[in-house]
């Protein structure tokens, strides 16, 4: 399992192999959102561009748009979240994953932050 990459919009991304990645939201993000009650995920096969809204997370507080951290095609969505949206809170980088995507451009992954970079980034926010 490779290390996680992070976007400034608080998504994490794990490179599964040369062409596919898994995407979710970070522990920091789930804490900010509060108890997640509903996750609206994209359609399988949907083509998305980096920074496009691809999902919506509804917490008890409000709805938040989730932006695509990279460009690509949606291969798979986490159907578990439909019945257990709270997995986003309890296991954001594990069972709370959102979707798997086929990468358009592997270089976009390199532009994301690594763990140390993201830790510093959220340190500046708080």
């Amino acid at each position: 399992m490779s290390e996680l990459k992070y976007s400034e919009d608080h998504e994490w991304l794990r490179v599964d192999d040369d062409t596919t990645v898994t995407i979710g939201i970070t522990d920091f993000a789930q804490k900010q959102l509060g108890d997640v009650v509903y996750v609206e995920l994209p359609e399988i096969g949907q083509e998305v561009t980096k920074d496009e809204d691809i999902a919506v997370v509804e917490s008890v507080k409000a709805a938040s748009d989730i932006k695509a951290p990279i460009s690509g095609t949606v291969l798979k969505i986490n159907s578990l979240l439909s019945d257990e949206p709270e997995k986003v809170n309890t296991d954001p980088t594990g069972e709370g994953w959102f979707m798997k995507m086929k990468l358009d451009d592997a270089e976009e992954v390199d532009q994301l932050m690594d763990e140390a970079g993201y830790t510093a980034f959220i340190g500046e926010l708080s």
């Binding site: 509060g34 108890d35 009650v37 509903y38 609206e40 919506v56 509804e58 008890v60 507080k61 709805a63 439909s82 949206p85």
Partner: protein, 372 residues
Amino acid sequence: MSISELKRTPLYALHIEQNAQMVPFAGYEMPVQYSMGLKQEHLHTRNHAGLFDISHMGQIKLSGESVAQFLESLVPNRIQDLSHNAQRYTVFTNEQGGIIDDLMVTNAGDHFFIVINAACKENDIKTMQNRLPDNCGLEELTNVALLALQGPEASSVMQRFCPQATELAFMTGGEFTVNGAHCFINRCGYTGEDGFEISIPAEHAENLARNFLDEYEVAFIGLGARDSLRLEAGYCLYGHDIDETTSPIEANLNWVISKSRLNDEPQSYPGIETIRQQSQQGTERLRVGLLSDGKAPIREGESILNEQEENIGTITSGGFSPSVEKPVAMGYINKQYASVGTQVIVKVRDRIQHVKVVALPFVEHRYYKRRT
């Protein structure tokens, strides 16, 4: 409004100590949630006891010879028949029959104790003062806090601090000494649960709050859960579900309207003509409860549609209900769609949600009923 202009309640320091997330609300810096989080705070109140700081609300003492008659001239229910210690929910109306504010009134014997919404305080006081007879006095209680202790275990907690207060019936109140402090306690609340609202001098408030929080049943609860609890209980939130453009009849608050006053009583109140007419002929729209079959929360401001996707109403409050575990909402809907069981549609981000008109409340009220 910048954060420096916001007012603080006597419990501000305690909120900070308890890791509250503070937000601006009605001109005050208020706790929206604590570390437990909204959902757990909500469920804790339904299962045990929650302590709420509601000191931002206005507390008013009205006194004088004709005070009951005076209050009755501003509201659609009767006040003059309110017996000593009895409490009543009512609304201030405007000349169009709209609601200026909703309030709680208790007959405290030598005065009436009323609690009004924080955001409406100034306007309510002006409304009352403009019409106040010479033989009556209005005093805004400013050096007091207001604590709400709510939940099925609220009474057993209160028993340890002020056993006499646990003998109050629902919607009654009186003066009690708690921890050496002179308090006015009503048995009422905004959650649908049994509970108390305690008006306490500011200098004693933090001490009593700490004592409550030391009890194993009690947790501090923020405004976030207060909102989801009141929504499940079917209560209106002023400025959302009711305002100056909604009449008590449209708001389905018929129980605040005295029929005898509409028919033959001599004393009028603002908007009585409109309310009389609406009471006889009905209104175009009504406030209803809405329960979704889907999972996406329905929020304030969304349109309500019929099956032909024509606009038939608006959502005024909505969210995910932690107790029902479904999205619940309230809104105004055209009369022909207002009966319980009617299927309607709300679009959330262009996706159709099938929603049903249901009877309020969403969660059964569990007020204390005194054994006789």
